[in-house]
């Protein structure tokens, strides 16, 4: 594999990269799994957690959002909220997994998370109850742009701060622009420090005065109606009482993102759009001085598909099979012989074998073309981090612990079937 070896140029590329996912899991305390939608972030996050407990003792927590139903069931996550649950040791034993550590999982629940935040930051019970009962509160928290992102960060901070876990792995929310999550704490702090909030929260009487004197309010009043503005203002007055708590926390969360104990794992498939987003994400992480611990290329096609031997074989097979095969006089003998040989081997009819082989030959080019294009992108992805692993295109959905174990094996480079393109 043509890969820039940064850390250890003398090592063989594949050995170096495979050792390092274990090293990453052993050396960091927080790992954020990021990437564009649909690349398998949740599954990779869960598999990283499993890989960690296979390798080392200790308590590992995977915080996930919106996992696939069957995966949730497999992990015992069906009815749980923000409270972590431990995967039963028996479940590991039954699946033949030797876990040295404990694996805990939790699912992010935005609403419960916000309620928790309010309870924590409210200066008194009166403010707390007023906020929780405010008609805008539910709307704002469930619809507040990127509130998921901020909460994921908050949870990470909290769970790390409890000291209950040796490693916390967060599956970041599906976000088309993965960067929103990185800027969420800063935005939260900015919001509380903003002139807007001060405007909105000046005492109501003087606000009337301000309303009349500022074009902003003239417009806002006409557009939104003063009642709605008041509702908003009331809400923010309550919110402002919690400012110091929120801002302090947002700053702590932001600091955590650049902490040397934190690393990002960027997941991507080798399709154009996700790979492009992964590159953009990596660049942005570097700008923000956030560490990329590893790049995971998911659903990678076998490299052998893109070889000339393969396309030569497909071409030959196409000539030797199918309805046009008879016309090739020279190949006549070979055709019968090929299909019959295979038919004998499989105990099947020669006609069926001919048809199946012909389809395989004809359709090969489609996949080979995809494989060739993806191999080129694979090289680009490898350059994003000194540690990169690939997970082959597995022939099945991952929906239980044994499936996750296979994935964990690929991540750790321990699988016999691991592809090394």
């Amino acid at each position: 594999m043509a890969k820039r070896e940064r850390a250890s140029p003398s090592k063989s590329a594949s050995k170096g990269e495979r050792a390092s996912v274990d090293a990453l899991l052993a050396s960091r305390e927080m790992i954020l799994v990021a990437g564009s939608g649909g690349v398998g972030k949740t599954t990779v996050a869960a598999a990283l957690g499993l890989a960690a407990v296979e390798r080392q003792p200790g308590r590992v927590l995977v915080l996930t959002v919106d996992p696939a139903r069957r995966l949730a069931t497999a992990l015992g996550l069906e009815a749980f909220g923000n409270t972590p649950v431990k995967i039963d040791a028996d479940a590991f034993t039954e699946t033949g997994i030797e876990a040295r550590g404990e694996l805990h999982v939790a699912m992010l629940d935005t609403k419960a998370g916000w309620d928790e935040l309010i309870r924590r930051h409210a200066p008194d019970a009166k403010t707390r109850d007023a906020v929780l009962a405010n008609p805008l509160y539910q709307n704002i928290t469930s619809r507040f742009v990127h509130s998921h992102d901020y909460l994921a960060m908050e949870q990470l901070h909290d769970l790390h701060a409890t000291g209950d876990y040796d490693l916390v792995i967060v599956d970041t929310p599906p976000s088309r622009n993965a960067l929103t999550i990185l800027d969420a704490p800063g935005r939260m702090a900015d919001f509380f420090g903003s002139r807007l909030l001060r405007w909105l929260t000046v005492p109501y009487r003087s606000r009337l005065f301000t309303f009349a004197s500022k074009p902003f309010y003239q417009v806002a009043d006409r557009v939104l109606g003063s009642r709605f503005l008041e509702d908003i203002a009331d809400f923010f007055v309550l919110f402002q009482a919690m400012e110091s708590g929120f801002v302090k926390r947002a700053n702590e969360v932001e600091a955590l993102l650049v902490d040397p104990r934190t690393a990002f794992v960027v997941v991507s498939t080798l399709e154009a759009a996700p790979a492009h987003e992964a590159a953009y994400l990596a660049e942005s992480l570097a700008e923000r001085k956030m560490a990329i611990g590893a790049v995971v290329a998911n659903r990678v096609l076998p490299a052998t598909l893109a070889t000339s031997a393969a396309s030569a074989a497909a071409e030959r097979l196409e000539e030797l099979t199918g309805p046009d095969a008879e016309e090739l006089d020279a190949a006549q003998f070979d055709t019968d012989w090929l299909c019959e040989a295979v038919a004998t081997e499989l105990g099947a009819g020669a006609d069926v074998v001919d048809s199946v082989l012909h389809q395989m030959a004809v359709r090969f080019d489609d996949l080979a073309m995809v494989a060739a294009r993806e191999a080129a992108r694979r090289n680009d992805l490898d350059e994003l981090s000194s540690t990169s692993v690939s997970i082959p295109w597995l022939t099945g959905d991952i929906h239980d612990l044994s499936g996750l174990a296979v994935l964990a094996g690929h991540l750790r480079g321990r699988s016999d079937e691991a592809e090394s393109p």
Binding site: P215, A220, R227, E345
Partner: protein
């Protein structure tokens, strides 16, 4: 097979990564090919629609990308500016620049305000019949309910004011299944199908709009007849024999077929689940599921839009 192109206002959504933007662009292209005057709008300003048409960027002001096909990118600030000019008759237009950016901030915090400015602008184009069809490359399935549902939320929250007055005509358009529809794009994979089923369950109740179709994108066509599947599965055992005749690449050829066939059959299972969920539903049991085959082509760009449009054109005949 569906009324997709008879609508005036079509939201296209789906889980991130399923090809939502390409499908939205392709639907717009099909409508334009059939002589309709079409506007397609990207809501999230990430530039995916511009990429689909191979332009460096799109503006709030629509660009005619093909005859009769106009594309734009939503900007809340521009929408506010236009809105103030049209409805509030604000006299001090010159001062709206900084005003709008401040407003943008309120809109960020206040529920539904930003969304209603975006949805409202497009609903306005529909109302004024500036186009035969307005296609919205909407938010992904996780956020689309709050986007399309904004007028409903505002109607519930805001008692007075211009915005309140404005929500009713929007709701009239949005809630009319003959005028407005939602196309949910999915791939034949577990999570996209699950999200689509959930979205179909929530859409009408929470937004008042009606789903018009599910579009299953990148569906792998069957490679083998049913009677051939057994032999195809066994073919791995015959690789040594094959290699004698066609060379060492035989293994890769058989493997490629195995990968495609296994993906196809898993995907078919997910689509069956989708079909069952639709059939069993009270509200959407006659919803068509339109299939767009995997094109084994480039990920995005004009060529793909055009190929997807070809395939939709046939399906929607």
């Amino acid at each position: 097979m569906t009324d997709l192109l008879d609508l005036e206002f079509l939201f296209v959504t789906g889980k991130g990564g399923v090809g939502k933007t390409t499908v939205a662009a392709a639907i717009a292209e099909v409508a334009a090919r059939r002589g309709q005057r079409v506007l397609v709008c990207e809501m999230d300003a990430k530039g995916a629609l511009a990429t689909a048409f191979e332009l460096s960027e799109l503006q709030f002001e629509p660009t005619e990308v093909e005859p009769n096909l106009f594309a734009m990118s939503m900007s809340t600030e521009d929408s506010l500016r236009e809105y103030l000019r049209l409805f509030v008759k604000i006299p001090f237009i010159g001062r709206i620049g900084p005003l709008a950016s401040t407003f943008d901030f309120v809109a960020d915090a206040a529920p539904g305000v930003k969304e209603i400015l975006a949805v409202g602008k497009l609903a306005w184009e529909v109302k004024e019949r500036h186009y035969d069809l307005v296609v919205v490359d909407a938010e992904a399935s996780g956020h689309v309910v709050s986007q399309i549902g904004a007028p409903k939320v505002i109607a519930d929250l805001v008692q007075v004011g211009v915005v309140r007055d404005q929500t009713q005509w929007m709701l009239d358009i949005l809630e009319d299944p003959a005028r407005t529809g939602v196309a949910v794009v999915t791939t034949a994979e577990e999570m996209p199908v699950t999200e689509s089923i959930e979205l179909l369950g929530r859409l009408t109740a929470e937004t008042g709009t009606h789903p018009t179709a599910v579009i299953a994108n990148r569906v792998l066509p069957a490679m083998f007849a049913k009677s051939e599947l057994g032999v195809a599965e066994q073919m791995t055992d015959a690789v040594p024999v094959l290699a004698d005749h066609i060379g060492p690449g035989a293994d890769a050829v058989v493997r490629a077929a195995t990968i495609v066939e296994s993906r196809r059959s898993i995907g078919a299972g997910h689509l069956d689940r989708l079909r069952d969920a639709v059939d069993e539903s009270d509200s959407v049991n006659d919803l068509p599921i339109v299939t767009v085959p995997e094109l084994f082509s480039r990920g995005h760009g004009r060529r793909v839009v055009s190929l997807v449009a070809d395939s939709l054109d046939e399906e929607l005949a």
